[in-house]
């Protein structure tokens, strides 16, 4: 069984809203509900560890109650950074295997979780091909310093799964070394533990800006709107 670390603590300054972006409405429903309902349908997820922005606990609790999420939820106050939040949330996980996802990716499907769980490897991330060229540069001189082989790069997505011990060890090492990561697959890889990827989908987008919110709303609209 798996514990789902569900990151929900960002304040969402880029969406330009007064409340945290997880409580922003996507097609009239708080964004965080989408992942909660999807995760609730995944049999192998027996615990959800959900963090919340400071001072927003009551609002998150109200959502959990109204939508009657049946998987037990452990609430944890968000840390100062994403890295700190994950580190704090690991210790609340009651299973030996964990999945990390974020509520800002509301279009995740049960099949995404299922493919991850079904993977033969212990540490796995959804990743997608990069459809554009990324160039290495020197920001100080504005010089382009070379090129990168796109076929050997991937866009890191969530969800990801880890053996809890590997994730814990990688975070303990990062704390010792003063490393602050923005995601965990590369953190675990840099630490030297094996990690693999499976194909992500371009629909599983991260809602960061107002444009992303519109895009997600468009993707969620009823399919009959495509009729001519």
């Amino acid at each position: 069984m798996y514990s789902l670390i569900l990151l929900n603590g960002g304040i969402g300054s880029r969406t330009g809203a007064d409340s945290p972006k997880q409580l922003l409405k996507l097609r009239g429903i708080p964004i965080l509900v989408y992942t909660l309902v999807t995760a609730d349908r995944v049999e192998q997820i027996s615990q959800i560890v959900l963090n919340y922005p400071p001072q927003w606990r009551e609002d998150v609790e109200a959502v959990l109650k109204a939508y009657a999420i049946s998987t037990p939820v452990t609430l944890v106050e968000a840390g100062a950074s994403r890295h700190a939040s994950v580190a704090a949330m690991i210790s609340h996980c009651t299973n030996d295997d964990v999945i990390i996802h974020e509520t800002a990716r509301p279009l995740v499907r049960t099949s995404d979780f299922q493919r991850l769980i079904d993977s033969e490897h212990s540490n796995v991330s959804l990743m997608s091909e990069i459809s554009f060229t990324v160039a290495p540069v020197d920001p100080e001189t504005s010089a382009v310093t070379g090129s990168l082989d796109r076929s050997r790069l991937r866009n890191v997505q969530l969800p990801q799964k880890f053996a809890k011990a590997d994730l814990q060890d990688a975070h303990a090492h990062a704390l010792e070394q003063g490393i602050e990561s923005t995601e965990d697959a590369t953190l675990v890889a840099d630490f030297g533990r094996p990690i693999h990827f499976i194909e992500g989908t371009d629909e599983n987008l991260k809602v960061t800006t107002k444009t992303d919110l519109k895009m997600a709303g468009f993707l969620l609209r009823p399919e009959e709107d495509d009729d001519e």
């Binding site: 009239g28 309902v37 999807t38 009657a68 049946s70 009959e224």
Partner: protein, 235 residues
């Protein structure tokens, strides 16, 4: 498959005929919870249906007034605890007292909205809050909710609201994979129709069984191909 349905207004008319088809002619439905106000008709019709029940099928009759919100919440909770979940909900119970605008009594208007609009809403919300996951919700509206009818202000307005509410439900509940259908029957030979058109010969118009047959089809696998709009059923 072993599905449980809840039908309101199940003591007669469309609700009774829907219950009959679900329990006798639907391969998937094995339990039907029947909501209706307490009446001799309700008791007699349940008793008659019980005699026809195939093995492994059951009826759960519960006397409740859909217009009494607190009683309704209690009945829904009790039903949920007894049957362990509702897969199909048919919000059929309806009320009308047709009078011209100048003579509408506010208490009666409120009763109309309570039964026709707040009732279906309360059942759906209560069950969702309890953690119920529906396969299908069928809200019975009316062609009078599409076009307002002179002398039927309260009824027409309530049914227009049901059509709109169904559209919102369809979108919001899509996160669970729930289908929400809205059915608007035209003239149907029911007690409610007798109130609206007392001089009409009921044998000349659509029968409750016809509408029930459409509801039963909606609940079958093929139903998902026809549930995206407000479906008008008329003769």
């Amino acid at each position: 498959m072993s599905k449980t349905a809840l039908v309101t207004g199940a003591s007669r008319g469309i609700g009774l005929e829907t219950t009959r088809r679900f329990i006798l002619n639907n391969d998937d439905v094995t339990t039907v919870v029947m909501f209706a106000r307490a009446s001799e008709d309700f008791d007699a019709n349940v008793a008659a249906l019980e005699k026809e029940l195939p093995i492994g099928r059951r009826l759960v009759p519960i006397a409740v007034d859909v217009g009494d919100r607190e009683a309704l919440k209690q009945a829904v909770t009790a039903a949920y605890e007894q049957v362990g979940g509702i897969d199909i909900l048919v919000n059929n119970a309806g009320y009308t007292n047709p009078v011209p605008l100048q003579q509408v009594d506010m208490a009666d208007f409120e009763k109309t909205i309570n039964v026709n609009l707040y009732g279906p809403f309360t059942i759906v919300q209560t069950l969702l809050n309890l953690g119920n996951r529906f396969d299908l919700i069928v809200n019975i509206a009316s062609t009078a909710g599409i076009t307002g009818r002179s002398g039927w202000l309260t009824y027409s307005a309530s049914k227009a609201a049901v059509i709109n509410m169904s559209q919102v439900m369809r979108e919001e509940l899509s996160i669970y994979g729930t289908r929400v259908a809205c059915l608007s029957p035209g003239r149907t030979a029911t007690a409610l129709r007798k109130t609206l058109a007392p001089d009409e010969d009921p044998s000349t118009i659509m029968q409750p069984g016809h509408v029930a047959q459409v509801i039963n089809t909606m609940s079958s696998p093929v139903g998902r191909f026809i549930d995206s709009e407000n479906i008008v059923v008329r003769q």
